[in-house]
């Protein structure tokens, strides 16, 4: 599941480290994710998975870790991360 997310994080989260060095539960903000980059990542995730984050997910916590991002996607589109 995380293999699907990592390339998107590398491309849009503008972190100083590669996503494959990060653990699933590691704090992306602590790793250098800015609020602006979190927004870019959100838009990229919506396009890649053909989803729309609902109001209740539009917060800082949703994008805090790869785990939390995966949980959101899982809830919105269960089949998306199946591979």
């Amino acid at each position: 599941m995380l293999d699907t997310l990592r390339p998107l994080i590398d491309k849009h989260a503008r972190l100083p480290v590669k996503a494959d060095t990060l653990a699933a539960g590691q704090d992306l903000y602590a790793a250098g994710l800015t609020s602006f980059a979190a927004v870019q990542l959100m838009l990229a995730l919506e396009e890649a998975f053909d989803i729309e984050f609902p109001e209740r997910m539009l917060n800082r916590r949703s994008f805090a870790t790869m785990e939390s991002i995966a949980a959101c996607i899982q809830e919105l589109r269960p089949q998306a991360l199946a591979s």
Binding site: S35, M42, R60, F63
Partner: protein, 303 residues
């Protein structure tokens, strides 16, 4: 709510303190209103005198290229005001006049100029400060005041489209900047208490645009980057932000490459005073007749 009762805006207009222009949120001000604004301005200066801030005054328009670089359009495209001017020839001019006479849209030959309306007093400051090179050890502190523009028409007199914002801005290390904001959070409350206004301070967020803006706003709140001093003016339920205390972290420092003496990216913070909002809060709580305001309030404002 009483339908027949005049609103606060009605009262201010009727008393002549504000002057109608036909546009919501765009008002003239009477001499008396300006005396209150000037009095509050002096009170701020006295309160902040020990800061030895460098005074800078910019006009209410800023360099469009610098505005574009500032990132304002990422966060608040809905509030921005750009300045346009006629860019056609004689024939286009004749067409413009014809259309005006016919009441038709006449602005297709209007071209964007190099100036945009200043959205917050500190926006022209950061590129100016960046040009000076690395900060001194103690960082920098500035005193600003500017008319600002935000496109948000409203019937609430406290939400104007063109209004004045006084600011102290701190540029320095994270420690310097955080200490500045903490200090002004206390000073700001003492200052408003002197004016006999009820208030509370609360965590807040800027009106970031759209769905992406929800994430920005949530971050700003979670990190406690913005606090507002709120005074009930239009209603108790939705009190008005009269002062704001903002920690931008390294947002402007990295946008403009402002460096500390040690070569790190500078952090910034500001305290902003909504001049008209405080004046209107004073009229709301002490009455429309300044002569009848409590003596200590008049003293504080040297009225």
């Amino acid at each position: 709510m009483c339908e027949a009762c005049p609103t606060l805006l009605d009262k201010l207009l009727h008393k002549g303190l504000l002057v109608e222009t036909g546009i919501d949120g765009l008002y003239g001000r009477s001499g008396l209103f300006e005396q209150v604004i000037d009095g509050f301005d002096r009170l701020i200066s006295r309160t902040g005198a020990d800061q030895k801030a460098e005074v800078l005054r910019f006009p209410p328009g800023m360099n469009r290229v610098l505005f574009e670089k500032s990132g304002y359009l990422k966060s608040f495209p809905q509030l921005a005001g750009t300045v346009h001017s006629f860019g056609g020839n004689d024939k286009d001019h004749a067409v413009l006049l014809d259309r005006l006479a016919e009441g038709q849209p006449w602005w297709d030959k209007q071209e964007m100029t190099d100036i945009v309306l200043t959205p917050a007093a500190c926006y022209p400051l950061y590129p100016t400060a960046a040009k000076r090179g690395p900060l001194p050890e103690d960082g920098l502190i500035f005193d600003l005041n500017s008319y600002c523009f935000r496109h948000e028409p409203s019937k609430e007199p406290t939400r104007q489209q063109m209004f004045r914002m006084r600011e102290y801005v701190r540029i320095g290390t994270p420690d310097q900047v955080v200490a500045f904001r903490k200090n002004w959070l206390e000073r700001g409350q003492a200052l408003i208490a002197k004016l006999g206004l009820p208030f509370n301070v609360d965590v807040a967020n800027d009106p970031f645009f759209g769905r992406a803006g929800r994430v920005m706003a949530s971050s700003q709140r979670d990190l406690g980057l913005k606090f507002e001093l709120l005074v009930p003016v239009n209603s108790e339920e939705n009190p008005t932000a009269c002062l704001s205390f903002n920690y931008h972290q390294d947002h402007f420092g990295s946008t403009w490459n402002i460096r500390t003496a040690a070569g790190e990216t500078a952090h910034t913070a500001c305290v902003g005073f909504g001049m008209e909002r405080v004046a209107i809060a004073l009229f709301r709580h002490h009455g429309l007749d300044v002569d009848k305001w409590p003596a200590e309030v008049r003293d504080a404002l040297s009225l």
